[in-house]
């Protein structure tokens, strides 16, 4: 226990690390707040820069950007009704009406404190649940990992997009991209078309930066003509009375955030929307009707999306399965720094687990003073012209990609994926599942192959594996229920069931 506490406090003990977390959180808040700059984009670009860094220092910076970025999205949602990040979509439902009522300061204050409390509850869940799940995960077999990877891919596709089929396509596309290059088992080239250069595959960082950075910059060019809105903010710090009054809602929303985050593939955006939905149903006497500036409509999603950070990290660190697009990028960063998130992480490198939790905690602490101050500077940053911002994003993306292998070919790939990602976005495809596919693809394929070898290439035995083990069966049922509840046919079944029931009642 003492040893774990020592690892946990490591980031608190060095001035350099404290500074890196502080700088990361500060940068994260502003990156998250500026519409068009996402935390996923920031972390993916950052990975390339921290190649040569010490692991601990790189993790400190990433923890700060991660925490700050998830929170930062709420500011532009409140002030401009433009969520800086998908996780802040729900915050704008009541945050922007509050700003229009002249209560932007209260909304920002509430969102900051709710985010910090939610973040702490999420991290507490991570610190207590992850070691238990990690012990249990050693019992996970290939079939369980296979199902978890499919669950992650299908969930992110079905929950976060406008169409399940588009989400599934994007996820499968990511899996396809992960297969380009030499097959690790047989040594044969796949989709290389005789090119030696393609044998090592396409670096996933080039795909990430292209899909998230360049494509987003190109999409933002469409909105160049939109003039930034000038804001006036004051009365930031919320009263204790207000906070205590909403404490039950904060705890409930945090639990929703942790639960959603712990599911592979479901991230802060879904957690925030579900917490908002739950609050709108359960809060009987909101300060104002939901959608018209209810404080509860800001508190619930903001608590949930920051609590989701702890939840997201549970499957990422214990199973090696990313919780959402950001954790998919962070998994990539951990691999680059020689770490292997999964069941063995807690056994081989427990210090890194506790160090990471410590760095996230420190970032969460910094969130409070940074969130409650500098609003005026923030308002100026949000007002930066996109025409000034976008070329800088492009140049940083190019430099970052070049830095991976000092290869111009990586830059070509990155730009190619940027253009392709742009088209995907323009036609309503989510790009998050593509990255999840790239990360989850090898996990899926390796475990599928292991399973096939275990069952001696027998297809009936392959399927029997999924129903003959209680844990696997549980995961299969959970996946089917979750996917089914999002599909149109589920509603049809429910409607037909309720019709049959009403007919039966009428008859009786």
């Amino acid at each position: 226990m003492e040893q774990q506490l020592g690892y946990f406090l490591m980031s608190f003990s060095s001035f350099k690390m404290i500074f890196l977390v502080l700088a990361g959180t500060f940068a994260g808040i502003y990156i998250g707040a500026i519409p068009g700059l996402s935390v996923t984009m920031a972390v993916s670009v950052l990975i390339t820069f921290t190649f040569a860094w010490d692991v601990n220092e790189a993790l400190c910076l990433m923890a700060g950007i991660y925490c700050g970025g998830v929170y930062g999205g709420s500011r532009s949602a409140i002030l401009l009704n433009i969520p800086g990040a998908p996780a802040a979509v729900a915050t704008g439902f009541d945050g922007y009406p509050l700003a229009k009522l002249g209560e932007a300061g209260v909304a920002i204050g509430l969102s900051t404190t709710a985010s910090v409390i939610g973040g702490f509850i999420g991290l507490l869940a991570l610190a207590t649940c992850a070691p238990i799940i990690s012990d249990y995960s050693l019992m996970f077999a290939s079939r369980d990992y296979f199902i978890l990877a499919i669950m992650g891919l299908l969930l992110v596709g079905s929950l976060s997009g406008e169409s399940l089929a588009k989400g599934v396509f994007a996820g499968a596309l990511g899996v396809f991209l992960s297969m380009i290059g030499m097959d690790n088992v047989t040594g044969q080239g796949r989709f290389t078309f005789g090119s030696i250069g393609l044998m090592s595959g396409i670096h996933f960082v080039a795909i990430m930066i292209g899909i998230f950075g360049v494509s987003e910059a190109l999409v933002q060019i469409h909105d160049l003509h939109i003039e930034p809105i000038k804001q006036n903010v004051k009365n930031i710090i919320p009263s204790w009375r207000l906070l205590f009054k909403h404490l039950p809602l904060i705890i409930k929303s945090a639990l929703i955030g942790i639960g959603i985050g712990a599911l592979p593939g479901a991230g802060g955006d879904i957690a925030a929307l579900m917490a908002y939905g739950s609050a709108s149903r359960s809060v009987k006497h909101p300060t104002r009707p939901f959608g018209q500036g209810a404080y509860e409509g800001v508190i619930a999603p903001e608590t949930a999306n920051n609590a989701c950070i702890g939840g997201d990290n549970i499957p990422m660190l214990t199973l090696g399965i990313p919780g959402d697009a950001v954790t998919a990028v962070i998994i990539g960063a951990l691999y680059i720094h020689g770490l292997k998130p999964g069941p063995m992480l807690m056994i081989d490198t427990p210090h890194l687990f506790w160090f990471w939790v410590g760095a996230l905690t420190l970032a969460n602490i910094f969130l409070l003073p940074l969130g409650l101050t500098g609003i005026k500077i923030f308002a100026k940053c949000v007002e930066i012209r996109k025409g000034l911002l976008l070329p800088i994003i492009i140049i940083i993306s190019i430099v970052g990609t070049y830095g991976i292998n000092n290869s111009i070919y990586d830059v070509y790939w990155m730009l190619g994926f940027g253009a392709f990602g742009y088209l995907l976005k323009m036609y309503g495809f989510q790009t998050g599942p593509v990255i999840l596919g790239v990360i989850l693809g090898p996990i899926m394929e390796d475990n599928y192959r292991r399973m096939m070898q275990d069952v001696q290439q027998s297809i009936p035995m392959f399927f029997w594996e999924f129903v003959s083990h209680p844990l696997t069966l549980g995961l299969v049922v959970l996946t089917l229920v979750m996917i089914g509840s999002q599909a149109g046919w589920w509603d049809k079944i429910k409607k037909s069931l309720s019709k049959t029931k009403s007919v039966q009642t009428e008859k009786s």
Binding site: T48, F49, S163, F169, F191, L218, H222, I392, I395
Partner: protein, 153 residues
């Protein structure tokens, strides 16, 4: 969930392109070794199949929207929707920048690219663009040389 009824010019052609891509992946995977179910071609075949099915599903789901388009009506809307002037010009500038970087070197070409982009995207007026471009490159140089330790070409 699948309630998208918005008509996006050119979407049906993009979906057709994705179908062609999925079929290409499927056919390429078909010719990979797959003597057993765990051979190197088995999983790519499965993924190619899923991609093809997903695209066909999109077609089926949005068939009415796609059918409602008339070529004459859609054609003039595609370019302004997907490739408006700003985006097209910027992509061209980006391509030129990448192609000339090898000849001009990173710093000169990046400076021209940054200043040109600020002016093109109306981010700054000429003097401010020249100064901002220089400041940005100085920051990049400092960061990469001393903090990130990455050698730029």
């Amino acid at each position: 969930m699948e309630n998208n009824t918005e008509r996006k010019p050119g979407e049906r052609f993009f979906i057709l392109f994705l179908l062609a891509l999925s079929l290409f992946i499927l056919i390429t995977a078909w010719f990979m070794p797959r003597q057993t179910y765990s051979d190197s071609g088995a999983f790519p075949l499965f993924i190619g199949f899923i991609m093809t099915l997903a695209v066909l599903r999109i077609f089926w789901k949005e068939r009415k929207i796609f059918a409602s388009w008339k070529w004459r009506e859609e054609r003039p809307l595609i370019q302004p929707y997907v490739f408006p002037k700003d985006v097209t010009v910027y992509i061209a500038v980006l391509l030129i920048y990448i192609l000339v970087t090898g000849y001009m070197g990173f710093w000169v070409s990046s400076y021209i690219f940054l200043v040109g982009s600020f002016l093109l995207l109306k981010g700054a007026k000429p003097v401010r663009a020249l100064i901002t471009g220089a400041v940005m490159l100085a920051i990049i140089w400092l960061l990469f040389q001393y903090i990130f330790r990455i050698i730029l070409w």
